[in-house]
């Protein structure tokens, strides 16, 4: 790596304070870029909020104040007017999984997550604004009145870095739930969260939301750092993206009082019904939709389509139909706009090696595209996905011709996040079966790039779980049976004697 790259600094940001030293070097193995960041041991003692009572200032804010803050922050984050974000974008290029146009597109649209109506929908659909704002009264059968309120928690976020949106989403979620947030940034997106934090400090240095954010890099698994931090005295919840790789180091700290919310790694699939072969136009449409789901974000998202089950039939004619569809998907993938999909960066060696092997033998798999990083469509000539399907990446998808939809459904499991289905009539037919098998989001084919944060994620509701759900029971003896009344009655009886 060139010396200019080793000079990149990933400062830590602790509740309004910028920490820039003492610097140590991270990364740089196996040809990866390296960077400098302050020694985590020098600041770990300052990372956590010392006492839960220090969350009080977040309760001086109304939900409307939070909306105002996020809306204003979104405006400040617009790439064209924020030098911190511009700098973060430039610095992220060597580290990111995405190519520059895709990274830029993600940075350009990041502010949308902070928009007022979007945050309202997010909060309302995920938690319910009333519950965030105050005690929501609910009567119970036994006559009591229960007040329920969703309180914030002291949280540690181990975020994924395959898109800068994870950093944005985490900051929005914490503001909505009035959480204190410590974000541990990943080495594939070391800059975004810090740039947002610094923008917040500039925009409203003394605002409680600004004061309740800390962003830092340390190498996941740094025992000394994590032992000090991951303690129920410091944090109540750990939200870990990326599943095992990021979680394995912290599982040892999980104990009563310290909860783990794990957003496991996922894969996604596609099911294309026989309707796709009813006309040339239908086939073009299905192909374009599938191409979008495969190509978007250069297949770097967990929602990216990888194995595509095609109800073309698996006899000779069926396979031929599937081949035709495969060719069309490949052609259309190359036509996706640059902000959505590009030739890939760092095309995985293993996948490249597998494609090279397919070039050498087309008996079982037909290949559209080559090993040039522009992507490829592999069409299985029998009813069987390539056995390395879990590795599919770099805009490489595998079409599998099948005869019955059950053959697709049984391939889903708890690792399956999104299943894009064409057409919608087929989706309605199979959604229960897909869900029972393990799939977590069933979607019209061609729309995975358009996501909403106001829905459950991966089969759970992370924002709800980030909250501490507190109840306040009001009971009166007139309506709720009370044991203490019998004591008094006894007293009265004794006094009377």
């Amino acid at each position: 790596m060139g010396s200019d790259m080793t000079e990149m600094i990933v400062p830590a940001y602790i509740r309004g304070e910028l920490v820039e030293g003492p610097l140590v070097e991270f990364g740089g193995r196996g040809g990866d870029a390296s960077f400098l960041a302050p020694d985590p041991l020098s600041f770990v003692d300052r990372l956590a909020l010392r006492s839960p009572s220090m969350l009080t200032d977040l309760y001086t804010l109304s939900f409307d104040d939070i909306l105002d803050y996020l809306q204003e922050l979104g405006e400040h984050l617009r790439l064209d007017r924020n030098p911190l974000m511009q700098e973060a974008l430039e610095a992220s290029v060597p580290f990111a999984d995405l190519t520059r146009p895709l990274l830029q597109s993600a940075y350009e649209t990041a502010h949308e997550l902070f928009q007022r109506d979007r945050v309202i929908e997010h909060a309302e659909r995920s938690v319910g604004i009333d519950y965030l704002e105050g005690w929501v009264k609910q009567p119970r059968l036994d006559g009591r009145e229960v007040g329920i309120r969703a309180f914030g928690a002291r949280t540690l976020h181990i975020i994924a870095g395959n898109s800068p949106w994870m950093a944005c989403l985490t900051i929005v979620r914490c503001a909505i739930a009035r959480c204190d947030a410590i974000i541990k940034v990943p080495s594939n997106d070391p800059m975004t969260a810090g740039a947002i934090a610094r923008t917040m400090a500039k925009m409203a240095p003394d605002h409680p939301i600004t004061k309740h954010l800390a962003v830092a890099y340390w190498k996941g698994g740094h025992v000394e750092v994590e032992e000090k931090l991951c303690d129920p005295n410091n944090i109540e919840k750990i939200i870990a993206w990326g599943g095992f790789a990021s979680v394995k180091h912290v599982t040892r700290y999980i104990q009563p009082g310290l909860e783990l919310i794990s957003l496991d790694p996922k894969r996604s699939s596609t099911v294309i019904g026989p309707e796709a072969f009813e006309s040339e136009a239908a086939m073009d449409e299905a192909a374009a939709r599938a191409a979008a789901d495969i190509g978007m974000m250069n297949q770097n998202a967990c929602s990216s389509a990888r194995v595509v089950y095609v109800l073309s039939g698996s006899d000779e004619d069926g396979v031929e139909r599937c081949n035709t569809l495969g060719g069309k998907i490949y052609e259309k993938m190359l036509l996706l706009p640059e902000a959505v999909s590009t030739p890939v960066k760092d095309f995985d060696h293993d996948v490249r090696a597998h494609i090279k092997a397919l070039i050498m033998d087309d008996e079982y798999y037909k290949l559209f595209g080559r090993n040039d990083g522009r992507g490829a469509i592999i069409v299985s000539q029998e009813k069987e996905a390539v056995d390395w399907a879990p590795k599919l990446c770099g805009r490489v998808a595998n079409l599998v011709p099948i005869d019955t939809v059950d053959e697709a459904i049984r391939e889903m499991n708890s690792y399956t996040q999104t299943v894009g289905v064409y057409p919608d009539s087929l989706k309605a037919e199979i959604r229960d079966a897909l869900a029972i098998q393990g799939a977590q989001r069933i979607m019209s084919l061609g729309y995975v790039i358009t996501s909403t944060e106001a829905s459950p994620q991966d089969g759970i509701e992370p924002l709800r779980r980030m909250c501490r759900w507190i109840t306040d029971d009001t009971c009166v003896p007139e309506t709720t049976p009370a044991v203490w009344e019998s004591v008094l009655a006894k007293n009265r009886a004794e006094a009377a004697e």
Partner: protein, 474 residues
């Protein structure tokens, strides 16, 4: 030495390099660099010209890349086989015992005619390998199957035997010494292996070569388990492990015939570590004071030595024994003094470190300067890890290792490894060998890359396997 200017000279060199160099390690490592380059280029041309139309997969690759002649060694880079080639068959062929189709697939990787191999009623991998052994010139070697599938490398019996000849030369001759007398070529030493005597992977196939070219007699070959490690069981165990990791255990069907064997296999596996330890202890006592060859990863040597030293044993073998090792740390923390302890226990004055792989017929052994020297019949390449383009064949280069094994005459010898190496093309090593060398810093790309805290929400197979390992070890 034969005349290298004539085609017969080149052919002699690539056909049986040990004979060509008259079994002399000193001769092998004393070829002037320019001569080596010439030998290698000419040898590569012969291999390409004779194999191109006879190995189906090579032909397709060459046609696709528009390569019809080799002018310089770099021309072969697009033709180097990736490890994926050796497992490019659909997994169902193996899972459903379609050995006729598997044989047809294998045919595309070898010049040997497999059309007469009878796969009818073939019951499993063991059966299939036995039939190939009996009915064809092949002697295939398969991988350990950690990914849930097996790679098959179509070594021929002839290739395997010629490879065998390299062992006494590489491990029992000293550079600079004259060629040993004919009756000294084979060390006739005791060979100790903590594995099964037979099996379908190179680690087991090699026992036949040990018996012939190191031990000189079967009774001097000591294996921990006299029988054969079943390839079916290895495969099934790997498949189950991979299926567990994928959350697809419900999809693995274990044929009833194998279920009982599976149980037995698992039982054996459970007791294996203690049995191997007992075997090693017993065998070292049995061959005390004798000349011994023992090759193993560091911790096997170390554990044996520590135990032996604890019991008061020192210098248990003859000093002209060979204790060889390689294969990296295996994810363990290596004590600084492991070699000293092993030397103290065994009585040898150095541990011979080797770098090799089951795809090629060479093992580079380490010289006194700490360099792995390559034999001249193995053409090294250092590739850009991202693009797989060749890095310059000069200076010191770090990148992905690839090799062309000129000795392979019925399969294609070009192979891309998963290793990151640093290769010195120009420096004359102080040890006196003229051959180019690899620094002692070999690492696996799978470990080196992406290991630095890149977090991604995309599920990869390895992550699941690792998760499972972790969870079950808690």
């Amino acid at each position: 030495m034969a005349d290298i200017e004539t085609p017969t000279g080149i052919e002699a060199f690539i056909h049986d390099p040990v004979e060509y160099f008259d079994w002399s390690l000193t001769a092998m490592h004393s070829v002037p660099r320019e001569e080596t380059k010439r030998l290698q280029l000419e040898g590569l041309k012969v291999r390409f010209n004779t194999l191109k139309d006879r190995i189906g997969m090579l032909q397709r690759l060459a046609d696709g890349a528009g390569i019809d002649a080799i002018e310089k060694v770099e021309d072969a880079v697009p033709l180097l086989f990736e490890h994926t080639v050796y497992k490019s068959y659909p997994a169902s062929l193996l899972a459903q015992s379609k050995f006729d189709k598997l044989t047809a697939w294998l045919q595309k990787l070898t010049t040997h005619d497999l059309s007469t191999v009878d796969t009818k009623d073939c019951e499993g991998v063991d059966d299939w390998i036995d039939r190939l052994d009996a009915q064809s010139p092949l002697c295939i070697s398969h991988s350990s199957g950690t990914s849930g599938t097996l790679s098959f490398i179509p070594w021929s019996k002839g290739e395997m035997d010629r490879f065998g000849k390299t062992w006494p030369v590489a491990y029992f001759q000293q550079f600079g010494d004259p060629r040993p007398a004919d009756n000294q070529l084979i060390p006739n030493c005791h060979v100790i292996s903590g594995l099964h005597r037979k099996g379908g992977s190179m680690a087991y196939r090699i026992n036949d070569l040990y018996a012939k070219y190191l031990a000189g007699a079967e009774e001097r070959l000591h294996c921990a388990f006299p029988g054969k490690l079943s390839s079916d069981m290895t495969y099934l165990a790997a498949k189950i492990r991979a299926a567990k990791a994928r959350g697809e255990l419900d999809k693995v069907e274990v044929p009833p015939a194998l279920q009982a064997r599976m149980k037995e296999y698992e039982e054996k596996q459970r007791n294996q570590a203690s049995q191997v330890a007992a075997f090693l202890k017993e065998t070292t006592e049995q061959v005390k004071g004798e000349r011994v060859f023992m090759g193993a990863v560091w911790n096997v040597h170390y554990n044996l030595a520590m135990k032996g030293l604890e019991e008061g044993h020192r210098h248990v073998f003859a000093s002209n024994s060979c204790i060889a090792s390689g294969g990296g740390s295996k994810g363990l923390t290596v004590p600084d003094d492991w070699k000293e302890r092993v030397m103290e226990y065994t009585g040898v004055d150095s541990i011979l470190m080797g770098y090799g792989m089951s795809e090629i017929s060479s093992h580079a052994t380490m010289c006194s300067e700490g360099h792995y020297h390559l034999f001249p019949w193995v053409i090294p390449y250092v590739l850009d890890p991202d693009t797989s383009d060749p890095l310059p064949r000069s200076g010191v280069q770090t990148g992905r290792a690839a090799f062309f094994d000129l000795m392979a005459d019925s399969r294609w010898g070009g192979f891309v490894t998963g290793d990151q190496i640093t290769l010195d093309w120009d420096t004359d090593c102080a040890c006196g060998r003229t051959s180019v060398f690899v620094h002692d810093s070999v690492s696996r790309y799978s470990e080196a890359r992406g290991g630095d805290d890149k977090i991604n929400c995309v599920a990869a197979l390895d992550a699941h396997a690792e998760a499972l390992d972790y969870l079950t070890s808690q």
